[in-house]
Symmetry: C2
Subunit: 210 residues, 2 copies
DNA sequence: ACCTGAACACCGTTCAAGT
DNA sequence: ACCTGAACACCGTTCAAGT
């Protein structure tokens, strides 16, 4: 069925397709099955699974820096971060790879350049641009780690989960947890994307006025 | 050697001790060996490894809310976040557990209450307190996911790693990456803790002045 | 009642043998 | 030159058998 003549890019594309929306790691067995090839054949083209994951993770970041808006600096930053978050939430098993190390691949370099360029063009001195870059990346990439598990669920399942958590807080002992019980219905309100947007807006506002 | 009479808290304490500073998952085999007990004996006291991890993660958060300062609201928030980050960096294999779900254990409830209480006392309306809480947690817990791998290294090894990364950016093609190459020496400057403090201060400033 | 020990399923990885 | 297939190490989990 599938071609028995592998190339790195065929392996990569197939792996990315399998990782799309996958909340548990994609095994090499699954990859081999979809390629119509023995599990071990992949080792001809990638040193190990980690190398394949790294390549796949960078592959998925390509859309992040395409055709960026040039209206205001914070609109550009928000676009980059929203796209980055979106891609990482779509490929949760690759997001771990992006978190684990610094951006040392082509599309990650482009992402870094775009953010740094936007910040320095906006008037941030070099050192503050670097600190702002780190802050923005920590919030954006970090937020994915918190939201990934829930993002994989359907919209209705997600809302039900959030409601369940709200109830847990509402049902706590009011003497020990007066604030949590009182504002339980405000916790996990709206979507995770909304909460991220709010956090990013606050961070950018704070970075601009130190 | 070790007692063959297990209790949940003996299992828990031993597991936490093994997880201290461990950058790779602590296996049940390692736990059994240190307890002087067969691997499978743990299943008498915890449903599975996930339950053990959850209990260990919460156990480690106990110091976060002890004797909090009551000077200013942002000093309190910073103390909570610094302690939380510190504990999660110390136990990287448990940090993943904290990230994966919402705070639904005793010490996590205390942490949530302390943050929400501090924010509402500072004058944040309920809805904004909840959004601020989520933003603060995303940055703090998320930052650990990015810094954990490096934090496990010794100070000198860490500095060498940062210098290596700076050189990678400095050596990029200057035409395609003009900004990254120019400010390469400002990237990964100082410690990860410094960069986190900067990010948290900016976030808190932005949250206070929406 | 609690632990042991063998067994199983799963997964990444290696390597000699095939074509 | 490239893939197959068997084998290995590792890890979480189950369960009948021991005491």
């Amino acid at each position: 069925m599938a071609p028995h003549r592998l190339t790195p890019s065929i392996v990569l594309d197939t792996y990315v397709a399998l990782a799309d929306g996958a909340s548990t790691p994609v095994t090499l067995a699954a990859l081999g099955a979809h390629l119509g090839v023995d599990t071990s054949a992949v080792y001809r083209h990638f040193a190990d699974k980690d190398a394949l994951l790294a390549a796949a993770a960078d592959h998925v970041l390509a859309p992040v820096t395409e055709r960026l808006p040039t209206t205001t600096w914070d609109a550009t930053v928000r676009t980059i971060c929203t796209r980055l978050r979106r891609q990482l939430l779509r490929y949760p098993t690759l997001a771990a790879q992006v978190r684990s190390g610094p951006p040392l691949h082509p599309n990650e370099f482009r992402l870094t350049e775009a953010l740094l360029r936007t910040l320095t063009d906006a008037g941030f001195p070099d050192e503050q641009a670097a600190l702002a870059y780190h802050a923005i990346i920590e919030l954006t990439v970090g937020s994915v780690a918190l939201d990934a598990e829930i993002a994989a669920q359907s919209t209705s399942a997600r809302r039900a989960t959030y409601r369940r958590w709200q109830r847990v807080y509402a049902d706590l002992d009011g003497d020990e947890f007066p604030t949590a019980t009182r504002i339980a219905q405000s916790l996990y309100a709206g979507s995770a994307d909304d909460r991220f947007d709010y956090a990013l807006a606050a961070l950018l506002a704070g970075l601009a006025r130190p």
